[in-house]
């Protein structure tokens, strides 16, 4: 059996958890166990373990767990809020919560790419690109107005969107 984390070494540590008739298993090799400083204490919970593995390239659903703390910069809606009420806050939420939304939307529609009509003159319009351009304009203005705190906020938002873009290439 291959390690669930590195997918290369043989797994020598097998953890099985049974809670309320639900069973979850994970198999890891010694190297990964050491690397991640995984504690093999008796109170070890599988859920916590999995929740910390967001950067291991696990399936999208588990990766979405990292989206927990996310808030949309456009309207302030949190990803957790969305999960409770089932509705997004604004168009920018689709960009902010992209990673968390993709598996959900794929499940609902079986597709991730719109192939229907578009408003005239908006064929290649990308919410992301528009937000970026808009934000970059706002940043220039904030700097010239010497509103440095606002400029710092804008810079962070731009960085976040660019990171998002790179990760999804």
């Amino acid at each position: 059996m291959i390690c669930d984390i590195c997918h290369s070494n043989e797994a020598s540590i097998h953890v099985t958890e049974i809670v309320n008739n639900q069973m979850q298993e994970i198999h890891i090799c010694e190297e990964c166990a050491k690397k991640k400083g995984i504690m093999m204490s008796p109170n070890f919970g599988l859920a916590d373990f999995l929740a910390n593995l967001t950067d291991f390239g696990l399936p999208a659903e588990k990766q979405a767990l990292g989206q927990k703390q996310l808030k949309c910069p456009g309207c302030g809606l949190g990803f957790e809020d969305f999960k409770k009420i089932g509705r997004l806050g604004c168009g920018e939420c689709y960009t902010a919560f992209k990673k968390g939304l993709q598996p959900l939307i794929r499940k609902i529609h079986g597709n991730l790419q719109h192939t229907g009509k578009h408003p005239e003159g908006a064929a290649g319009y990308s919410q992301e690109t528009a937000s970026l351009t808009d934000l970059e304009d706002k940043l220039k203005k904030a700097i010239s107005d010497e509103a440095y705190e606002e400029a710092a906020r804008l810079r962070d938002r731009i960085r976040a969107i660019k990171n998002n873009k790179d990760e999804n290439k």
Binding site: G74, C75, L77, I85, G86, R87, L88, G89, C90, G91, Y94, T95, L101, L104, I105, I108, H109, G110, N111, L112, Q113, H114, T115, G116, K117, H118, P119, E120, A122, A123, G124, Y125, S126, Q127, E128
Partner: protein, 350 residues
């Protein structure tokens, strides 16, 4: 046009003049749209919702289809009027139950109905009689394209039209068809047909009631997927499936007519008998009996009645309609009496 004009005039689709209207009552296409840069309705501030309403209204005012339209703000409507609009299928329950800055713009002949600040900033619908999704889509496109030029829709090249709920993202389009399937129900074949529809990613709902039983043998079939297919593909897909169902229902009707003619005629004339003679009749009984009588008219077993009258009866025997016709509030018992009175009157004049 005023609200009370809606009481006097019948919606275009009720006239029953569309294609395949013996089995298909109506076709509907709905587009969900939002304005860019403003939070979706439930997350927007009061001021933002007012802004949406103002912007949308001025865009609609300059559209030809809405020159003589009826524009209504939900918070200015009495409860019975809101219920009346829901019964006419011009607004949703969601819009009716809200208030601040929620509104609807209804075009002449009730072909278009545009809700503002419902789940999305704009929920636009077009109704056509019979199976006519093509025409419904064409009309919807016309208005949508005009508004797109005046407003700034929230749109993305990857996700499509952005909506409050991800179940609507992409085309934002819900195409649906209302069907009357009495023969399939009587032949106990409807469940099989509906289950195979569900496998095709289409949603089926019984109308006039919740749960598995569909009162009046009415069913609404609509697409569930809105992202990844073009608007035309969604319509073509749905149309193809509906054509199949029409064939099944027609086959079941022919079967009943040739193999159980006497039992069928008995059922139909008994229904007609109760409807034309009862003094007290409930909503449920009305719908069930009207459904059978409708089949009787389709099969030409009843010849002195037309489909338009039957379709009208389905609508005007609903609670808010009865009260508006009477001009005052009625309790359930009074409604049951008024209902029987109206039915008798309509059936006698034919």
């Amino acid at each position: 046009m005023t609200l009370n004009d809606l009481l006097k005039n019948t919606s275009e689709w009720i006239k029953g003049a569309g294609p395949d209207s013996e089995i298909v009552i109506s076709s509907r296409v709905r587009f969900a749209r939002n304005l860019s840069g403003i939070p979706f309705t439930h997350w927007a501030s009061q001021q933002q919702r007012r802004q949406v309403l103002k912007t949308v209204k001025s865009a609609l005012d300059s559209n030809n289809y809405f020159k003589k339209s009826l524009f209504l703000k939900v918070d200015e409507l009495a409860a019975v009027d809101k219920q009346f609009l829901v019964e006419k299928r011009l607004i949703s329950r969601e819009l009716a139950s809200g208030s601040d800055s929620k509104a609807v713009d209804i075009s002449d002949k009730e072909i278009f109905s545009i809700m503002v600040n419902e789940e999305d900033h704009l929920r636009m619908q077009v109704m056509q009689s019979g199976l006519n999704l093509e025409e419904a889509l064409r009309l919807m496109d016309t208005v949508d394209n005009d508004l797109a030029g005046k407003l700034n829709y929230a749109y993305d090249a990857n996700w499509g039209y952005l909506t409050a709920c991800p179940t609507n993202v992409g085309t934002g389009m819900r195409a649906s068809v209302m069907l009357h399937l009495p023969a399939l129900v009587m032949g106990k074949r409807v469940k099989g047909v509906l289950m195979s529809i569900a496998k095709l990613n289409l949603a089926v709902r019984g109308l006039y009631g919740e749960g598995t039983e569909a009162a009046g043998n009415f069913f609404q079939v609509s697409n569930q997927v809105t992202l990844g297919h073009s608007e035309q593909e969604i319509v073509d897909n749905l149309q193809r499936v509906i054509r199949q169902i029409i064939d099944y229902e027609q086959g079941a009707r022919d079967n009943l007519f040739s193999n159980s003619r006497t039992a069928l005629e008995d059922k139909i004339w008994r229904a007609y008998g109760v409807l034309s003679n009862a003094y007290i009749i409930t909503s449920k009984e009305t719908i069930d009996l009207l459904s059978i009588v409708r089949l009787g008219v389709n099969l030409k077993i009843i010849s002195n009645l037309d489909i338009k009258t039957i379709n009208e009866l389905f609508i005007i025997t609903q609670p808010a309609h009865l009260q508006k016709l009477e001009g005052k509030e009625l309790n359930p018992q009074e409604r049951d009496v008024k209902r029987a009175e109206i039915i008798k009157k309509k059936l006698k004049t034919t």
